[in-house]
Homo-oligomer: 225 residues x 2
């Protein structure tokens, strides 16, 4: 497999954690979201991912097909990639068997994947600047607002469900996979994390797990921190 990735993309970070947890080896193809006006906007990359976003996962099988060239099989959108990996490589399971628990974990995933991350990603921040000529401080206020709004709901759900060292149960699930990269970004942007003790506890616990350590931005081949 080949993962089109950017070290700082929290959506790519999620996919890297899942690949590591499931012991799936992959090659990283770096797509630098800032350099050269954003490499994701090149015609070449738009053929891979028409949205011009990372991550994209190329799962084209490497069978010798003689003269026929296989159409590349590429999955885009981190949640589509991750649900695919969970179905195609079921062990270790990152979603429980119980349907209501699965739904709860998907709720936690979507709070981050729908209501925090897309409102705060690079292209939205750029467009804010373009439309409203806002400065860095205004962009940070915007960024913090959506993080704080989302984390407050996330924290409340964790407390109501008695979370300790993981979001759910006594093992890693996809909820942790989505939470950890978002907290990493929150810390990078200096959000005050003191209102979220449960999230902090889970973060401190999960970042010590090898699959999370190896997926971290600073461990990536394209890291230019």
């Amino acid at each position: 497999m080949k993962l089109y990735s950017y070290f700082r993309s929290s959506a790519a970070y999620r996919v890297r954690i899942v690949l590591n947890l499931k012991h799936i080896s992959y090659d990283t193809i770096p797509v630098h979201l800032v350099r050269h006006g954003g490499e994701q906007n090149s015609a070449e990359y738009l053929d891979v991912n028409p949205q011009g976003l990372v991550p994209s996962l190329d799962i084209t099988p490497t069978i010798n097909t003689g003269e026929r060239e296989l159409k590349p099989q590429i999955i885009t959108q981190s949640t589509a990639i991750i649900e695919y990996l969970e179905e195609a490589f079921p062990q270790p399971a990152l979603l429980p068997i119980n349907l209501i628990e699965r739904a709860y974990i998907r709720t936690l995933m979507q709070i981050i994947a729908c209501d925090i991350h897309p409102v705060n990603n690079l292209r939205v921040l750029h467009y804010l600047e373009e439309c409203f000529d806002c400065d860095k401080a205004e962009k940070i206020t915007w960024y913090h607002h959506w993080l704080a709004t989302g984390f407050a709901a996330f924290e409340r759900l964790l407390i109501e469900n008695g979370s300790t060292h993981y979001c759910c149960h006594k093992q890693v699930t996809l909820a942790d996979v989505y939470l950890i990269p978002q907290v990493y970004n929150a810390l990078r942007f200096n959000l005050d994390m003191s209102p979220y003790p449960t999230i902090n506890r889970i973060y401190q616990h999960c970042i010590q797990i090898p699959a999370f350590v190896d997926a971290a931005p600073e461990q990536q081949p394209d890291a230019d921190i």
Copy 2:
């Protein structure tokens, strides 16, 4: 089941379509997102959904439990609700069996659920106004920008995959369930839809299906169009 819904919410509209396609009867509990400063912000509703968003689906079983009161079982986030309904009520299937096709449909779902809808929903438009004092025309420009960006990628994927009257194959899938409410909103906000002939064709076809007709905003008990 009880669906906390707002007639114009495209996320609630998706869930209504799935409930109808699967012939699941439900009661609507209206949550008016505008009236009284937004009924979703009441303490009562925040107990149902700590994010203060619609939809929420109450699936608490109605068993006579004697003196013990069942803890309400409520699922929030439309994608978590819809994946739950697909697992708990598999017929008719709204995702195919093939894992790569499932991934493709989830990609289409997420283009709308992550990269169009959350950047354009009411709370984001309100916050734009609060932060940047923008007027109605600026909000419409913002709204159209994310619709056009997302629809362009969606259209390209549909063309590459040979879509005709549905997003995928010859039957309704979750991709159609996500697309139709988003097009409904685009038309309401007068987006020029001419660059998206495939999306238009699928929209015109799907809005004639009874499950989609009955889920439409103007058919809801809380419609105040």
